[in-house]
């Protein structure tokens, strides 16, 4: 579904150019859930933005569904670290934003929007404004917004990292359930090793300066998974070692 071919990205630094990504190769199959982990500054967000078509690579290319990515695609949804809700739009209006931007019939998607809100436990909040919601609820709205058009690919950039630990675990469990019921291709960037192990089929470990793909680890644990189980802890431990033992 997604093919990343020898992708490099260089940013202009103050003194010398900064190599954020250096020759990344990665393939993500259809309906596969791949997590990308690494220390901050390893270029994992940069990689995601390149796959999303928000940033051009300096070298190499990305294919989604067999086509080179040159700009954001409509069958690819991006979810960011912060909810990025439009403050003047109601919850429902925010969920329907992609529908409007893509010029589709708003009416036809309203039922689906309510379904999604119910799915994440926000039934009855459709008419609220974002500022009336907690951070966790806002991020749930953001999740609904990225699901409204049934995207083939979801790109998630540390979507839960701004939340408190409890809400974070909760949302991670919800994402696992939603993905399990309707599998789709997901690339999930995170700096939490446990989160990656709980959610992903495979975990890509990036190392910083320059950002390189250090290791690709298969997570062979049956779902549903929860953190704090022996098997998750074992894989997490191994990944921790990969991250720290350079």
């Amino acid at each position: 579904m997604i093919v990343v071919e020898r992708v490099s990205r260089v940013f202009d630094g103050k003194a010398e150019p900064i190599v954020a990504l250096d020759g990344i190769d990665l393939e993500v199959g259809e309906h596969e859930f791949v997590a990308v982990i690494g220390r901050s500054g390893c270029g994992k967000s940069t990689l995601l933005r390149i796959v999303a078509g928000l940033l051009a690579p300096t070298a190499g290319r990305v294919l989604v569904a067999g086509e080179p990515v040159t700009r954001p695609r409509r069958d690819v949804a991006v979810m960011f670290q912060r909810p990025a809700l439009l403050p003047w739009r109601s919850v429902l209006g925010n969920v329907l934003l992609p529908v409007e931007v893509h010029g589709l019939d708003r009416q036809k998607h309203i039922a689906r929007a309510h379904e999604l809100l119910e799915l994440v436990g926000l039934a009855g909040f459709a008419a609220r404004l974002p500022h009336e919601l907690s951070g966790g609820m806002q991020q749930r709205v953001s999740l609904c917004r990225s699901l409204i058009q049934n995207p083939a690919v979801m790109l998630m950039d540390e979507p839960f990292s701004a939340l408190d630990a409890l809400t974070r675990t909760e949302l991670s469990a919800e994402l696992q359930r939603i993905w399990w019921e309707h599998p789709r291709t997901v690339v999930f960037v995170t700096h939490s090793v446990e989160e990656a192990v709980v959610l992903a089929d495979r975990v890509a470990v990036l190392t910083p300066r320059p950002g390189r793909l250090h290791e690709l680890v298969e997570v062979d644990i049956p779902r549903p998974r929860t953190a704090h189980t022996a098997r998750v802890a074992a894989v997490s431990g191994a990944l921790h070692e990969l991250l720290t033992g350079e």
Partner: protein, 252 residues
């Protein structure tokens, strides 16, 4: 509820206190009426020509609102152009700054020479006074749109138009209202200045002509009406803002 009552009671109390002090001063120091009329004299002057004064108020109000409206209709598109194109921004901005730096009082007589004694030069001067705050507030509001929201819109493969109208313009609205409120208080001043220079109607005209006949009480009545007009326009905008942008107060 209590704060709402206080919001009305406190300004009224302040006004009454000032009026009382003013009245007291005219009595205690026995000030001549043509120097400083007492509030009673001013009220009497208004009572003498209520129809005439309200007519002149209407003239000034119309000039003010037309010039203000024109500044919105012209200013917001120009701000949009400035935000869209950095080249245009660098071309237009210095000109706008220069235009704004010219004292409007200096332009007023020239406008009369160009456009005559009718309402046109007044409307134009009001426009010139309002234009700058409208453009600046709109442009800076649209530019201050958070990067995360812009990136979200881009990730949806939006058009430039959508980025501006679905996002940047809406995001800028609270800041645009700040500019509008600044502009509307300047607008009344602009209209009066234009009327000082050459007019046959309007409250500015009333002030000038009553000054020359030493009818100070009438001039004060006209000034009072100008004050009321300013307050009504300002709070009208503030009310509109609260109705249109219920999200703004909480969000910022």
């Amino acid at each position: 509820m209590r704060t709402r009552v206080a919001n009305i009671v406190l300004p009224v109390l302040g006004l009454l206190a000032v009026l009382a002090l003013w009245w007291l001063a005219t009595i205690v120091f026995a000030i001549e009426e043509f120097l400083l009329p007492s509030p009673g004299d001013v009220l009497a002057a208004f009572g003498e020509y209520p129809g005439y004064l309200l007519e002149q108020t209407w003239v000034t109000l119309l000039e003010t609102v037309q010039g203000f409206g024109l500044s919105i209709v012209v200013g917001i598109p120009i701000a949009l152009l400035i935000v869209t194109s950095p080249i245009l921004e660098r071309t237009i901005y210095p000109l706008l700054l220069a235009l704004n730096a010219v004292p409007k009082i200096a332009i007023a007589p020239i406008l009369v020479v160009w456009l005559g004694f009718g309402p046109a030069p007044k409307v134009l001067l009001v426009f010139l006074v309002c234009f700058f705050p409208v453009v600046i507030s709109t442009a800076s509001g649209m530019k201050s749109t958070p990067a995360e929201l812009v990136e979200l819109m881009r990730s949806l493969d939006c058009t430039r138009r959508q980025e501006f109208f679905k996002l940047r313009f809406q995001y800028a609205l609270p800041q645009i209202f700040v500019g509008l409120k600044t502009a509307v208080s300047l607008a009344v001043i602009g209209a009066v200045i234009a009327e000082f220079v050459g007019a046959s109607a309007g409250l500015g005209f009333v002030i000038v002509s009553s000054g020359s006949s030493a009818d100070t009480a009438l001039a004060f009545a006209a000034m009072g009406l100008l004050g009321v007009m300013s307050i009504v326009l300002f709070y009208g905008l503030a009310y509109l803002e609260r109705r249109l942008l219920p999200w703004a107060e909480e969000h910022r």
